[in-house]
Amino acid sequence: MSLTLNRRQFLGIAAAGIALGVMPQYLRAATSTLSMQAAWINDAEFTGYFLGLDKGYYTEAGLELSYLSGGPDVIPESTLIAGRADLALTSPDTTIKAIVEQGAPFKIIGAQYQKNPLGIVSLAKKPITKPQDLIGKTLAVPPVNVISVEAMLKMNDIDPSKVNIVPYAYDPTPLIKGEIDASLDFTTNVPYTIKLAGEEATSFLLYDFGYTIYNDTIVVTEEVLAKKRDQLVAWLRASRKAWNENFTDPAAWPPKFADTWFKGTGRSIDNEIYFNTAQKPLMESPNGIFALTDDGIEKCLSALGKIGLVGKHDMFDTSLLAEI
């Protein structure tokens, strides 16, 4: 009999063999592995998952979850394509762009943020409270988000060339020192840093000015969806439970992760509490955490349509949430 394996298959089989040999008998039957790629370094944005891992909600659901941290240079969709994670938290504009332009086989099965936390942050002493205020100002934007900002400007009848857009390297110092007038960042996070530096911040969400998209959409490949559907439902259920528990008191959990999940990130626990509190209204939905409603999907697609990204309803799969 001839058996041909390529290098990857061989390694995979070898690894599986080793793993099976090591695993205790009872675990082998009960749990299956699932890996998730987060969108950023460990911070309060992912409190729910840390809580669920620490309290064993995933294990209870029969999942052995491995959690991969992200960062500014980690593109979660790339991790999915490379087969290094089963599900990823992504930004829906890049995901739908990948489906439309690259033919990536993605499905969106949930959305962590019902309202995208991305907003325009400025100093209270030189406040920018609406898109019109940006005309003639310097705005720092991470290169990935430039199309989103330009779309928001167009929706508000502003010529994008009237705003001086420069790259944002995630350091608010130039904003605090007045070198730039505003930056695009998570409104749940930066205002705290600015306050620490002795300034007051003001901000508005892109969402509130027409760019109505989700964020941290939960994305899987069609292959994983077919193979691991039950595990994905279990993941959604356990994660929703954990997030609900977290939001009963947003100040309670971050301190518990000081020496584990948040160790060595260079961020303070007070910062995480601020973040966790601020994100509560952006995540909660009458239909539960991760909700994908027809109305929400429609808003998301129509906003993306304004930047020339024509998405379709079938890029979303709401049936997993329906099973919870």
Binding site: G103, A169, R267
Partner: protein, 523 residues
């Protein structure tokens, strides 16, 4: 002896003075509205953060040590093979130049796409090591004492005996010297890959987490720790080689891709070798993709890139984006090359004329080499804005140091007897410099140019990526966000190709000028 001790004290005193000035400037917030923290604040922050550091340092060390070992095994073996077979050396010339000229900023995203876990960090560290160690080995082996080799042969020793008993032993000082320079390069490579790796630990990761904190003192602290690790690894190998060899040879980065002696060979053979040397980098690229097993959507082969750029639906937009980016990047790259070289040249001349002043400047210069530029961006942006001035400064800071070391060495090597002639005629130091020293150091000027020219593109791309939002650097960054994999590979390939072309142009110019003046290339 007394004079030497005094001189050392004076150097220390100058350095202390500099730190003191920095402290005052920082305390009073004179630079960039207080964005430059005083040294005391950096140290205090470092102490407050001390619990954070060990795990990050351990991760960075693990990747850089592994990369260092793997890189050196490959580099030294390759060096031995190249030294034995000049034909192979000529065939691999394209690969070697590409390895030298690779801008890490272009290659890091590709490594993180195709490899996983620690592999991108280790690969980038190993790439940082390869060229330096390989060159040191080739030169060490080919320069071994031929009389000793003759002796072995006279006693009936074969090729292997000569290699083992003479050449390898003779090459050891050169190899150790190479390792000294390679060690900090491995550390820097590992940190750079951490930016894109998405791991939990590592100094690069820590720096990223701290960026959003608007806390310059912490960023400088991380930069100083990185500098310290790089410096210690250099010092460690310096001590090792002194301990084993008692040798105190001056070490500089060797910038010449070793050229095999042109043997009188048929022109057909020469054409074949040149073709092979151009094709080989592409074959290695293709092999890397096939071996990594990365899916075709992410990993693009040379053919895929050509396809993307010329024959796909997206090729028209891709071409116009690329041309626009090149139009923004290239002019400032040429200006940057000239500025970096000029700065290094002035510094080298000053170091001859005012050795003490330059000695005090050296620690600052070293910090600029190991301090991750991301940490300095806010400071630079506040001081210089986001225009051409910033791009130029970043380019100078990326290019000047190796060029300066090479030039200073060249100027120091000019024989005393030659310099005494103008002195005897009562010429001033400047006249002596102008009429004797600088012309005599011309081969080193070209060696410095070879070093500067590929790095200038790297400097410009870093500035574009971090601050100005234009050109190739920005296109690369944006394509990553848009999952435009074809464009990521295209930009990386174009950046490497340009660097190789720049390098090759300098080599051609160098050969013409030096042959005309009857000088030889500086190794």
């Amino acid at each position: 002896m007394v004079g030497e001790a005094l001189a050392r004290h004076r150097g220390l005193r100058n350095a202390l003075l500099l730190v003191l000035i920095w402290e005052v400037i920082g305390r009073l917030g004179l630079v960039a509205g207080g964005a430059l923290p005083p040294p005391s604040a950096i140290l205090i922050k470092l102490w407050q953060d001390r619990a954070d550091y060990p795990l990050h340092i351990a991760a960075t060390l693990q990747a850089s040590v592994t990369g260092f070992v793997i890189g050196n095994i490959i580099a030294i073996s390759a060096g031995v093979i190249f030294a034995l077979s000049p034909t192979l050396l000529r065939i691999f010339r394209g690969v070697n130049i590409a390895a030298f000229a690779l801008p890490p900023i272009a290659i890091a995203p590709i490594l993180t796409l195709t490899l996983s876990g620690m592999a991108p960090r280790i690969t980038l560290a190993a790439l940082g090591v390869y060229f330096v160690s390989m060159t040191a080995t080739v030169i060490g082996i080919s320069q071994a004492d031929s009389r000793a080799a003759d002796l072995i042969r006279a006693y009936g020793g074969g090729r292997w005996q000569v290699l083992r008993r003479v050449q390898f032993r003779g090459a050891l000082p050169a190899i150790l010297a190479g390792l000294r320079v390679a060690a900090p390069a491995a550390v820097l490579g590992a940190i750079l890959a951490e930016f894109g790796g998405g791991g939990r630990w590592g100094l690069g990761t820590y720096l990223l987490g701290s960026l959003g904190q608007a806390n310059p003192a912490r960023l400088w602290g991380i930069g100083l720790v990185a500098t310290l690790i790089a410096g210690l690894s250099y010092a460690g190998f310096a001590l090792l080689s002194r301990h084993f060899l008692g040798s105190t040879r001056a070490v500089t980065l060797n910038t010449a891709v070793p050229t095999a002696q042109e043997q009188s060979s048929s022109s057909l053979r020469r054409v074949l070798i040149i073709t092979a040397s151009i094709a080989l980098p592409f074959i290695i690229w293709w092999g890397f993709i096939k071996l990594s097993g990365a899916p075709a959507m992410i990993a693009k082969t040379p053919l895929d890139v050509v396809n993307y750029l010329f024959f796909s639906n997206a090729s028209a937009t891709a071409q116009s984006k690329l041309l626009q980016a090149l139009g923004q990047t290239l002019p400032i790259t040429f200006i940057g090359m000239a500025a970096g070289l000029l700065f290094a040249f002035l510094l080298a001349i000053l170091s001859k004329l005012f050795p003490r002043g330059i000695e005090a400047f050296m620690p600052v210069a070293l910090v600029t080499q190991t301090m991750p530029l991301v940490a300095l961006t806010p400071l630079l942006v506040l001081m210089l804005g986001r225009g051409q001035a910033l791009t130029l400064w970043v380019t100078i800071s990326v290019t000047f140091f190796p060029a300066f070391v090479t030039l200073a060495q060249g100027i120091a090597l000019v024989p005393n007897s030659v310099q005494e002639l103008p002195r005897a005629y009562g010429a001033s130091r400047w006249t002596e410099m102008r009429m004797v020293t600088i012309p005599a150091a011309l081969p080193y000027l070209f060696a410095a140019m070879r070093l500067t020219v590929p790095r200038a593109l790297l400097g410009v791309m870093i500035a574009e990526w971090l601050a100005t939002g234009k050109g190739l650097g920005n296109l690369l960054n944006q394509s990553r966000g848009y999952l435009d994999y074809g464009m990521i590979w295209t930009v990386a390939a174009v950046a490497v190709l340009l660097s190789v072309i720049f390098y090759q142009l300098v080599v051609l110019l160098e050969r013409r000028v030096l042959t005309r003046l009857g000088m030889t290339t500086a190794e």
